[in-house]
Amino acid sequence: MILSKLFLETEPSGIETGIELGIVAFALVLFALSITAYRNTRIKKILFAAAAFALFAIQLFIDSIEDYLGFLDEEITGIILKLVTFAILVLFFVAIVKKK
């Protein structure tokens, strides 16, 4: 009861920021894990996955600061974020199809 009351009383934007921070942190953990995996194995395709995880964190970071600072045109931000999403998928694709 107390928890649900607390949850309802929390500002929605606060919860959203918390989740966003969690996603960024998780993407950074995956990035660091990929770098360790690359350093231990020297499998180049892992670097593509590492770059994808890093881009994912950057994308969320841009999205978050844009919400707060609004320094870019909304349309331009939208295009940049979609391009980054596309780049992330391309990097994962290359990581899968690339030879060792």
Binding site: T36, N40, I43, K45
Partner: protein, 178 residues
């Protein structure tokens, strides 16, 4: 150097030769010497070129010179990987082919092939022709491999990164067993 100090240096050296990959606290515990004394003898042995050390995370690991030639660092990297450890254990018990290893550990042929190549390059295992197959045996004394594996464990971070690497290896095209 007096006789007692000399005999302690020999004890430390013998312990490292029998337990390659051991770390400072373990040597202290097993030989029942003070930390300062152990450190003194280890520095001495390193200066004399009889042992080498490698720092990984919180521990410094010691190796007798000559056992693995210049490969200590690479061997530690190998032992950081769960799959390579499992492959070494299979080879320790039998003379498997790559297919045997893949079936026992339940990983892809591409992954087995990749790990085997690294282990052969480092001289940890040897390749022997058996008809149209290749079988694998240990390239160094099994006692040393067991000691290294007992002394040196991958931490949780390395286990996870290894699983990530395995995921990408399993996506690679399967290579035909030689």
């Amino acid at each position: 150097m007096n006789d007692e100090s000399n005999s302690n240096t020999i004890r430390v050296l013998q312990y490292i030769q029998e337990n390659p990959g051991c770390h400072l606290r373990k040597i202290k515990r097993e030989l029942d010497m003070s930390m300062g004394t152990i450190q003194y003898h280890l520095i001495l042995l390193e200066k004399q070129g009889k042992v080498s050390s490698e720092r990984q995370n919180l521990h410094k690991y010691y190796f007798p010179i000559g056992l693995f030639e210049q490969n200590e660092k690479d061997i530690l990297k190998i032992l950081n990987q769960e799959t390579a450890r499992e492959i070494l254990l299979v080879i320790l018990e039998q003379k498997p082919t790559q297919t045997d290893i893949a079936n026992i550990i339940k990983i892809s042929g591409a992954s087995v092939n990749w790990h085997i190549k690294r282990l052969v390059d480092l001289g940890l295992i040897l390749e022997q022709k058996d008809g149209k197959f290749k079988r694998y045996t240990l390239g160094i004394d099994s006692k040393h491999i067991v000691s290294l594996m007992k002394n040196y464990h991958p931490n949780i971070w390395n286990r996870w990164s290894n699983r990530l690497a395995e995921m990408f290896l399993s996506l690679s095209k399967e290579e035909k067993e030689q």
